[in-house]
Amino acid sequence: MIKLSPKLSQKLSYSILFLATILAIVPVVVIIFTIIKNGASAITWDFLTSMPKDGMRTGGILPAVLGTFSIVTCAISITLPIGVFAAIYLNEYTRNNLLTRIIKLAIVNLAGVPSVVYGLFGLGIFVMFLKLGVSVIAGALTLSIMELPVIITTARGALNSVPYSFREASLSLGVSRWQTIRHIVLPNALPGILTGTILSIARISGETAPILFTASVFYVPHLPHSIFDQVMTLPYHLYIVSTQIPNMPKKIIFGTALVLLIMVLTISFMAIIARIYFRKHRKW
């Protein structure tokens, strides 16, 4: 083995680390730059607020924006309460035996199942078996099942971050277990749960596979009326305009991508702001 002088090896390792960082950042920057450069001119008030026209080649993307918005809203309102209650049950009520350890491990691993599997599962269960059809609700249920393990895991982390001594202090005063959770544990875990939820919203907004077979369609000539409607969605619309329609103006493709990108980045950015805010105002 060659022996390097400390100074040289220091320099070498620094360069390698620097190079790795650059490699990680450059593609992201290039992608974002390309999308902005080609798409920025497409984004007008009209583009955001009108129906697609002329076989999607002109007009706007309003139905896709609204479709994504309604699916994500439904999904998060289903998955958040269930996830938080499950996390409370697993963390605060179960004893740490083999069965609960297996359940906890299973939940962590469920988060790694490919999203297309959830998509096919949703198609089988919600669309066909429960006869919900291709609809907002079927897509939302599929997304919420996909996101449930993530929500449970973040909520458990947030609950665990509340010091155990707070629970003991409250219980030692004769306050019941549920009241302790309701008035001490949950309020102090809320910042973590909220930040995790915002990140989940960002994540599922961009998901395509789970809603591909369960909620999204090529084109709907009207805006969504009810949760049983099939809808257009941003990620799927992007796929369609980029690959399925000949002679598509580049502007529209990149404009759609840019809207999706801004949406997801804004939501993630909100999570960062929330985290900074809560860190500043944390009470212990």
């Binding site: 409250s170 030692s172 005063l173 004769g174 306050v175 009241q179 102090n188 009470k283």
Partner: protein
């Protein structure tokens, strides 16, 4: 002299390792019973059994009975028991809220406060009884986490007083405090025994001799000796007690 608490043949184990061995001891109404003994002799385990805080620990197992006013505490509703037997931990644990809210937290949850107008009176009384009122009366709305250690410990005392218990368990309440804060906590303990029965676990032999009416000496999970404090300190019956209080132990 009425027995407030009677402990019969109490044995406690964690993971089959027994740390208290057939303990028989009583606590008399309105006394301060000090418990002294070297580390790991089971003092905290004993205290945490008295208000069943140890029931939260899955590895914990117990045999024997404890009576509070002749009622078996292991047949009682846990919340009721803890309302009657309050506990102060070694480290002060203020809840992450204001001083005011810390005190009304438990009374509110337990349904002891029905009208909002009663709250101010309860807070003031509890803080006065814990000799903290004069120091904090102008900043009741500031966070309890920002108080000094000694103030936090007295706040925790006030919090217990606000639920009006019958017995208060103190687990080394002054271990993290300076001499002046310690003197204040001791002062309020002596004040409190008019109304409450107190069990004080302490690592500080001098503290036991200052505030205890009776003193018990624990060693390796056994009660070696219990007697009037003066008697135990002046003429202990057991050799081990003498060694411990004169600092010749080990």
């Amino acid at each position: 002299m009425v027995d407030k608490i009677k402990v019969e043949n109490l044995s406690c184990c964690y993971n089959k390792k027994c740390v208290l061995d057939s303990l028989n001891i009583n606590v008399i109404q309105n006394e301060i019973l000090s418990i002294i003994g070297p580390a790991n002799s089971g003092k905290t385990t004993f205290l945490r059994t008295l208000n069943r805080m140890n029931d939260l620990d899955v590895t914990y197992l117990r045999k024997g009975e404890v009576y509070l006013d002749n009622d078996n505490i292991f047949n009682m509703n846990m919340e009721n028991l803890r309302k009657r037997v309050g506990m102060l931990f070694a480290m002060p644990i203020p809840l992450p809220m204001s001083i005011y809210e810390n005190i009304i937290y438990a009374p509110k949850r337990l349904g002891l406060i029905l009208k909002k107008s009663e709250q101010d009176a309860i807070v003031e009384q509890a803080l006065r009884d814990a000799s903290l009122w004069n120091e904090v009366k102008d900043r009741l709305d500031s966070s309890a986490m920002k108080m000094s250690g000694g103030q936090q410990q007295r706040l925790c005392i006030a919090r217990i007083l606000a639920i009006n218990p019958e017995v208060i368990l103190f687990d080394e309440p002054c271990s993290g405090l300076d001499p002046i804060s310690t003197a204040k906590v001791e002062e309020s303990m002596i004040e409190l025994k008019q109304k409450y029965t107190i069990v004080l676990v302490t690592n500080n032999v001098k503290q036991a001799s200052r505030v205890g009416d009776r003193t018990a000496f624990f060693l390796m999970g056994n009660l070696i000796e219990i007697d009037k404090t003066d008697k135990l300190f002046i003429s202990p019956k057991e050799r081990q007690t003498e060694d411990y209080i004169t600092g010749r132990f080990g």
